[in-house]
Subunit: 221 residues, 2 copies
């Protein structure tokens, strides 16, 4: 943490993760209102609450570093707001697919970045990205809906492609804007990072993980 | 819990409280999006999350009684949905006033009812209604806003009156519909309850508490 460029990168990483958790909370909570039953509503609300507790952990870590989370999140706020504005689910199933697919691709992305950071930061990132055990709920609901009406699968598959496309577009925009964050990934003075070939493999892994999850849901990717 | 009428009343009480917490979660989470800063957004989201954890405690207690929370909440869902539909805040300050005033009047109401129930149920009700420590946040924000622009206080005072009016209208509707819940309040075979004079005093206390809170906010009631 003594290298100011590295420290700025970690603050960026935590800020981006924090605003991701906070906006995920907002969207999941809003999407919960579309639930067909009160039980389903409570389940999605529970997913939202898990994201909020992750947000709190990140806020506490930033406070330890002497940085207000508001300040750290600010540069990334627009990207997340744009992402959610462009991917507002129009029904309950779209909301579920987004909760699962969006959450998981963000998880994979931040885990790949976390390889390059110090042990303490990596432990925190891994902790806040731990599966909250709600994936099974989504998989069950989506598969049942497809079994009941196979025609929904085509629309949901398109929806999944749109989600991943928007997510990658916003990630690229952020990486291009934030030098300190990019330096965490590609390395800096005296710190090794990923070369282009490795970055290519990261993106290949992200896409592959996404495809696997789509097929777990019973959807073409 | 051996008296079936009493048991039905307790299930009603917990169901009404549960749907209250769950819908409060939904509304607070939605209102958080109107926050002027990310810090304020996180604060309101934190209030929402506290309500959700109360919901979980009630769900667990109902499960112990062998009742699904879905079933217990169902009869009260419409009243809460109507209340929130009729009192959707149109801006951040209205959202804050609603969060505070609405939450507190519900707290007072359920505490008054809890006087008439068994110790275990009363302990749970008291626990889930405990102040989550967010009142100070609301009071501070509302008072500052009035200090900055005194003209907002007239509109917010009207808003507070509308909130309490709608809350009492829905409470009366529920009490009229649900005999078992009403019997908890007014008593049943072998169980003393409140007489009409006492009920009158309860309502007087609710109104008085509301007036005090409005003046804490710097608003006429």
């Amino acid at each position: 943490m003594n290298d100011p460029e590295y420290r700025a990168g970690i603050v960026d990483l935590l800020g981006a993760l924090g605003v991701g958790e906070l906006t995920a909370f907002q969207r999941l909570a809003a999407d919960a209102e579309m639930a067909p039953t009160l039980g389903d509503q409570a389940a999605l609300a529970g997913m939202a609450v898990a994201e909020f507790h992750h947000f709190e952990r990140i806020r506490d870590r930033l406070a330890e570093l002497g940085v207000s989370i508001d300040e750290a999140m600010e540069p990334f706020h627009d990207a997340y707001v744009s992402f959610h504005a462009k991917t507002t689910p129009s029904n309950w199933l779209e909301g579920l697919v987004k909760a699962y697919v969006g959450d998981q691709i963000a998880t994979d992305f931040y885990r790949e970045i976390a390889v390059a950071v110090d042990d303490g930061t990596r432990a925190l990132v891994t902790e806040v990205l731990a599966d909250s055990g709600h994936a099974d709920f989504v998989i069950d609901r989506v598969r049942s809906a497809i079994a009941e009406d196979p025609s929904v699968s085509g629309r949901l598959a398109l929806w999944g492609r749109r989600l991943v496309g928007e997510a990658l577009a916003q990630a690229q925009r952020v990486a291009a804007d934030r030098d300190a964050l990019a330096a965490i990934i590609v390395g800096g003075k005296g710190r090794p990072g990923m070369d282009l070939a490795e970055l290519g493999r990261v993106f290949a892994r992200l896409t592959e993980g996404h495809s696997k999850r789509m097929s777990t849901l019973g959807l073409a990717s």
